[in-house]
Amino acid sequence: MSPAAEPGRLLRVDHAACCRSGACSLVAPDLFDQGDDGKVLLKTARPPAHLWEAAEEAADYCPVSAIELETLPE
């Protein structure tokens, strides 16, 4: 999914906190999936720049703030 990952942003999910809502896969299917048990599966930790906005949206939609998008130092 992420060709020649661009530097800059690191996507992280807290699996223990994830409450299996499916909200992230719904708004950003290119970045998130769910296991059969509903738990979040991260497709890539280094999203390409054109998916940063989707990643931010997913983090906002997560009902338990289990998604974090970090800006990596240059």
Partner: protein, 408 residues
């Protein structure tokens, strides 16, 4: 002084689409405002950020059995039944959400799409066959919702008529049924679910009940009454809400024709349009209740241990600091997540299903009847402002050559 607090709920609306003025006035005071509920004083949560913070705070309990729990109706305190997970906290609550999560995963719900589409198309065929005008709630909103629930649970086709008849009677919007009839339908549905579990035990299918029987009931992880109660709760919380959203969402589009045209002609707007309609209509209008088990501070305000809160999605969804021009319906809006499904670990378990149902329902309706219009003047469409679920259940619509002489 308690007797000087504004009483809640406040229901008097001038325009059915706008929150009551008295409610907006409270929002302008503070993110948390003391109000008087039928059960006593509580904090009304008026702000978006406060709503999200408090609904995702483990010190806020959903346990209605706790002394002082805020409710909108005076009722006897009862301990929460095993399986009534809406009213549980922490690991007990998570157990049931884990049990259901796979059933509502984005993939599982997407797999239901063809069947929901087929149901919508059949209902539209039927509407067209009978001809206009028709009450869209009865012809479309209600049955789209009840058929989707049949599919979710795995109610076989030959039983779906029996099942939907009783489900619809339980939520009869006009309460035409005598209380005994409603009680009879409730008993019929509970009895039917019981039978269904027995049947799926012998002859499993590709559906929720079959999987819960095999993975939870048979290995002894849940008891039979718990499984039945959990399934029943899905009907109770999922049917009327979704049906109402289909009908009231259509009403809002018909009364904002430029918005309807945009959704009809640009199907890529559909997903955002559904979110905007959920935000704009905030049908679960009065709020989501919790009780603080410890002192919880938001900004410079504190909810003390033992105090109740009621989170208003209606106000949070119209928070000026979050939504520009919040009182305008704009299907092209790209905005932060609305609060209509709640927030935190109790976020509506059916949100994935409700969202896909709404997308399909509007898409099929507008594609099939592109000239759909109101069959009465907009001012004659009755809105229910005093019910738990806001909206209209009487939406007379017409289409095709617009019956000459119709009052619209």
């Amino acid at each position: 002084m308690a007797d000087q607090l504004p009483t809640y709920p406040i229901t008097e609306r001038t325009c059915p689409y706008d929150p009551p003025a008295g409610l907006l006035e409270l929002q302008s005071q503070a993110p948390l405002v003391r109000v008087q509920l039928p059960t006593g004083p509580a904090w009304l949560v008026t702000g978006y950020d406060a709503a999200r913070a408090l609904l995702d705070d483990p010190r806020m309990s959903s346990d209605m059995g706790r002394e002082g729990f805020p409710t909108l109706y005076k009722q006897k305190m009862r301990p929460v039944l095993k399986g009534s997970f809406m009213r549980m906290d922490g690991d007990d609550h998570a157990f049931y959400r884990t049990m259901l999560a796979g059933e509502f995963s984005v993939k599982r719900v997407a797999a239901m799409r063809p069947e929901i589409e087929e149901a919508c198309d059949q209902l539209l065929d039927e509407m067209v066959r009978k001809g206009p005008p028709t009450n869209l709630h009865e012809a479309y909103g209600i049955p789209v919702s009840s058929r989707s629930i049949c599919r979710l649970l795995g109610v076989p086709y030959e039983d779906s008529e029996f099942f939907t008849t009783h489900l619809e009677a339980l939520f009869d919007p006009h309460r035409a049924g005598a209380p005994e009839r409603i009680a009879a339908s409730k008993a019929a549905l509970s009895g039917y679910l019981d039978e269904l579990v027995t049947r799926k035990q012998k002859d499993p299918g590709d559906d929720m009940i079959s999987r819960l029987v095999a993975d939870y009931l048979v290995p002894g992880k849940v008891e039979r009454p718990e499984l039945l109660l959990t399934s029943y709760l899905l009907l109770a919380a999922g049917h009327e809400t979704t049906a109402n959203m289909i009908t009231t969402g259509t009403a809002a589009l018909l009364m904002h024709p430029e918005q309807l045209t945009a959704v009809r002609d640009e199907p890529q707007l559909l997903r955002g349009a559904v979110e905007e309609l959920l935000r704009y209509l905030s049908i679960f209008q009065f709020g989501i209740t919790r009780i603080a088990v410890e002192d919880v501070t938001f900004g410079d305000q504190t909810v003390a241990a033992g105090e109740g809160i009621i989170v208003s999605p209606l106000l949070g969804n119209r928070d000026q600091d979050v939504y520009g021009d919040p009182h305008t319906l704009d299907v092209r809006r790209r905005s932060r997540p609305h609060l209509s499904f709640g927030h935190g670990p109790h976020l509506c378990v059916g949100h994935t299903l409700a969202r896909i149902e709404l997308q399909i329902a509007f898409e099929r309706l507008l594609a099939r009847l592109p000239d759909l219009s109101l069959a009465v003047p907009a001012s004659e469409v009755p809105f229910r402002t005093e019910t738990l679920v806001f909206g209209t259940v009487d939406l007379p619509v017409t289409w095709g050559g617009r019956t000459a002489g119709a009052s619209a």
